[in-house]
């Protein structure tokens, strides 16, 4: 079972990585990168790093990719959404696909039984890392805040329009 999951996720990760570097469209590349980051988050889950999986989705797929897409939109003017729809069939599929997803989620929420029996309750992955960050790695952790502040100020300076 774990092997199946590993092989499938690896193939997704490798395929999306290749798609990123081989695709000419930067927006498509960004979407491939989101897929790649998501599959790596799944691998973190398989390795028992729940906190990192959540952080990966929030920080990378959320914050960093939004920045990327924003920059792509600003720098590379795309075709405007006018004229006949080139992918009409795909868009017509959106409604059934969304309904199917909703049904799946409802079924899973209704039939879900919580954590599998026989497994010990989560051993506090977040607690372990938090403790580690605030004891052994306290100094690098504080340095991170300085780094982020410096990045913020630097970005404001760089992105400012020259008078």
């Amino acid at each position: 079972m774990e092997w199946v999951a590993f092989v499938v996720i690896s193939l997704i990760a490798l395929g999306s990585a290749l798609g990123l570097i081989l695709n000419r469209n930067a927006i498509h590349g960004a979407l491939f990168l989101v897929t790649n980051l998501g599959s790596i988050a799944a691998l973190y889950l398989m390795l028992g790093a729940e906190f990192l999986a959540a952080a990966q989705v929030i920080v990378y797929a959320g914050a960093i990719m939004v920045l990327f897409v924003f920059a792509i939109m600003v720098l590379i003017p795309g075709k405007e959404e006018t004229g006949p729809d080139p992918r009409r069939v795909w868009r017509l599929l959106a409604l059934p696909a969304g309904t199917a997803l909703l049904l799946l989620l409802v079924v899973m929420a209704v039939t879900g039984r919580g954590p599998a029996p026989g497994r010990p309750p989560a051993t506090g992955n977040v607690e372990t890392i938090g403790r580690l960050l605030f004891t052994d790695y306290l100094f690098p952790f504080e340095l991170t805040s300085v780094l982020l502040l410096a990045a913020m100020v630097g970005v404001l300076l760089l992105a400012r329009r020259r008078a």
């Binding site: 774990e2 092997w3 590993f6 690896s10 990760a13 490798l14 990585a17 290749l18 990123l20 570097i21 930067a26 590349g29 960004a30 990168l33 790649n36 980051l37 790596i40 691998l43 973190y44 398989m46 390795l47 028992g48 790093a49 906190f51 990192l52 952080a55 990966q56 920080v59 990378y60 914050a63 960093i64 920045l67 990327f68 920059a71 792509i72 600003v74 720098l75 590379i76 992955n125 372990t128 890392i129 580690l132 960050l133 052994d136 790695y137 690098p140 952790f141 991170t144 780094l147 982020l148 410096a150 990045a151 913020m152 630097g154 970005v155 760089l158 992105a159 329009r161």
Partner: protein, 101 residues
Amino acid sequence: MSVPPTYYLALAAALFSIGVVGVIIRRNPLVIFMSIELMLNAANLSFVAFGHRLGSPDGQALVFFVMAVAAAEVAVGLAIIVAIFRVRRRLSVDDLNLMRW
């Protein structure tokens, strides 16, 4: 039967190599940045795999720092790209042969 960490390391190596190839073959600086993210993630994956193998949470703490640095790096890098684009009006690393503008 669980997957041995070697396979995770092999996957991380493959992703890292793909990222290197992307940095080399692409001309769009945005895609180059995304390839760098790919490489950072491959390194993170091997950190987590090693941490899992050694039963130590230190690997995960290091990945946390890599994520923070990557966020700062992306913000500054994209700001530099936008600043260059304002002056050059083109987006290709082949044009960038001066460290000034």
